[in-house]
Symmetry: C2
Subunit: 145 residues, 2 copies
Amino acid sequence: MLISTRGRYAIRVLIDIAEQASNDFIRLKDITGRQEISQKYVENIMTLLSKNGLVEGVHGKGGGYRLTRDPSEYKIADILKVTEESLSPVACLECNAQPCKRLAECRTLPMWRELNDMVNNFFNRITLADLVKKDDNVSYLNSML
Amino acid sequence: MLISTRGRYAIRVLIDIAEQASNDFIRLKDITGRQEISQKYVENIMTLLSKNGLVEGVHGKGGGYRLTRDPSEYKIADILKVTEESLSPVACLECNAQPCKRLAECRTLPMWRELNDMVNNFFNRITLADLVKKDDNVSYLNSML
DNA sequence: AAATAAACCACCAAGACAGTAGGTTGGTAG
DNA sequence: CTACCAACCTACTGTCTTGGTGGTTTATTT
């Protein structure tokens, strides 16, 4: 599994906020109600998103969450970088990876690197704006051809 | 993490056997010695590979493991299909996935499907023969351009 | 029969995953 | 000022996967 529910929920929540299309603060309860996911669990995720500046939260009555920038400014890669420990397909490509002794002779490393680049490029090309509901909701697929 | 050590070790072991280039049975002890990985752990993996016909094992003196076909006949996808529970990047695309109620309205599913296809195509295009040591050991990269 | 090597079975520690529970802080409305 | 509300924080939990280890059994060759 490359992407955990944490990452997937994060994306869904951000899409949900983006689709409200008002600059008001949206209550978490409403979001998780619409998305049918656990409010308590998503609370943790929102704290993560808030701390990393992807979202802005306001306490108390009339409070909730709001995007900090335009949906087109959210690359999926940016979101996943926050929620996922690592997006590397294999352990040896992780940031904290101890330099493998067999690196020079490794037959498989080029393959993993190629895959890694492919996945990263994929997530760097897609933004929140590509995923929100609209008439042509496969635009990001077209733009890749 | 998309690919566990189980899958990576499996590929490395198969490459190792392929590179011996003799049709003799290769002792696991020699393989894990060269690859510097745990023999005990790889035992489990070999049983898996053997049961799935990727490799042929023979007990006793003079025994060991042997490939059952030409390296070019081993797609990386075939190997990983055996060792990894799932190659799906997300849970909702797994074989045993309960049909998601929100499928029709899901904004993210097309993206996951696209990613899934991309990864599968990647692993279907590469074979063991592409990974064994040779003069031009980036042939599979070139062939993708 | 002895040596050898795969195969089988059972167990284990650490960590990730997907939550849950309950309390605290800070902002708004009346 | 008080009540309310919603984000925020800390801690805990059960389940599963990962990456092993140990010991025994089965099959083959010498």
